[in-house]
């Protein structure tokens, strides 16, 4: 698995428009997983996620001819997903409340998560309470490519508040630029930076615990989220 995301160039877009099936298959192959993963930050309902990703692909098929190339192809596809998933998640939520006859206090689409992963780590004068110590990794890249380390990182991602997880997935996992990510998610640059940093702090913490032998991660259970 390469650490660098593929860019789809203008030539690739022309192939899609010309009906090149191999190109479309490659696009789906590359983006289907990341799209499902992002959709999961908007809803826990598996059928909502599936429907959102499905609709995204149909919208891509229909819309590729009017795609103007203002945003990179990947961003364009992700933005379609975010629109569809938001709509579907709100609809499913309403449906759920009607059925249950209750009105929840959750607020979908909230961008400030109130998370404070650095809280409690400092004295009043701004010094560390417990000093961070180096990890001494001979080859960090190789370490992070092991299944065990990946499981640690994925568990940390899953544990993040949703708004944070979205930013982390698009910025650091998918490798998009901040402007792209702000456009896709409709958040400000300041907000995006704060959420990204909190997410990284959580991942650093999880890795710290793991690398010091504090916790062995279970190789990730295949995420079969049952509807609650």
């Amino acid at each position: 698995m390469s650490l660098h995301p593929t860019e789809f160039d203008a030539d690739f877009v022309s192939r899609l428009r010309a009906g090149d099936e191999a190109a479309f298959r490659r696009l789906v192959g590359e983006l289907h997983g990341p799209l499902s993963r992002l959709a999961r930050s908007f809803s826990r309902n598996d059928s909502v996620i599936e429907e959102a990703v499905q609709e995204t692909w149909l919208a891509v098929i229909r819309g590729i001819h009017s795609y103007e190339g203002r945003a990179p192809l990947r961003s364009w596809v992700f933005a379609i997903l975010v629109n569809h998933t938001r709509k579907l998640a709100v609809k499913a939520q309403k449906q759920f409340r009607l059925e249950q006859g209750r009105y929840g206090e959750d607020s979908p689409g909230r961008d400030e998560d109130g998370d404070d992963p650095l809280g409690g780590r400092f004295e009043a004068d701004g010094h560390w309470r417990d000093l961070p110590a180096p990890w001494d990794l001979a080859d960090p890249e190789a370490t992070f490519l092991t299944a065990e380390a990946k499981a640690v990182v994925e568990q940390a991602i899953d544990a993040m508040p949703e708004s944070q997880r979205r930013v982390v997935l698009l910025r650091d996992v998918e490798g998009m630029g901040s402007e792209e990510v702000c456009n896709i998610l409709g958040i400000t640059g300041t907000n995006e930076r704060v959420l990204l940093h909190r997410g990284r702090v959580r991942v650093r913490q999880a890795l710290d615990t793991y690398l010091r032998g504090g916790a062995t991660a279970q190789p990730a259970p295949r995420r079969e989220r049952s509807p609650e």
Binding site: R25, S36, Q54, L58, I61, F144, A149, L196, H197, D208
Partner: protein, 83 residues
């Protein structure tokens, strides 16, 4: 600039999103503080570790790939002149 400031600015420092003054402040602090130096390096490594989970743990293709390909084919036929 103290350790707490540096810890909060770590991502902006790594991503080069700090202004000249902020960047210099962090840099000066890191020269003198090995704990923060370790911390900032670990945030950088966390970013690297996140990149490593790209494309994992997810099915590469939807279950109904065939149906999707059929839609793609049908749409392409509707626009034979497009290239």
């Amino acid at each position: 600039m103290n350790c707490e400031h540096v810890a909060h600015a770590a991502s902006d420092y790594i991503d080069r999103k700090l202004g000249l003054r902020g960047r210099f402040g962090v840099w000066m602090h890191l020269l003198a503080c090995s704990a923060c130096k370790a911390y900032v390096e670990q945030v950088r490594l966390a970013k690297l570790a996140l990149r490593a989970v790209r494309g994992t743990a997810e099915p590469a293709e939807p279950a109904n790939m065939d149906a999707l390909m059929a839609s793609f084919r049908a749409e392409s036929k509707k626009r034979p002149s497009d290239s």
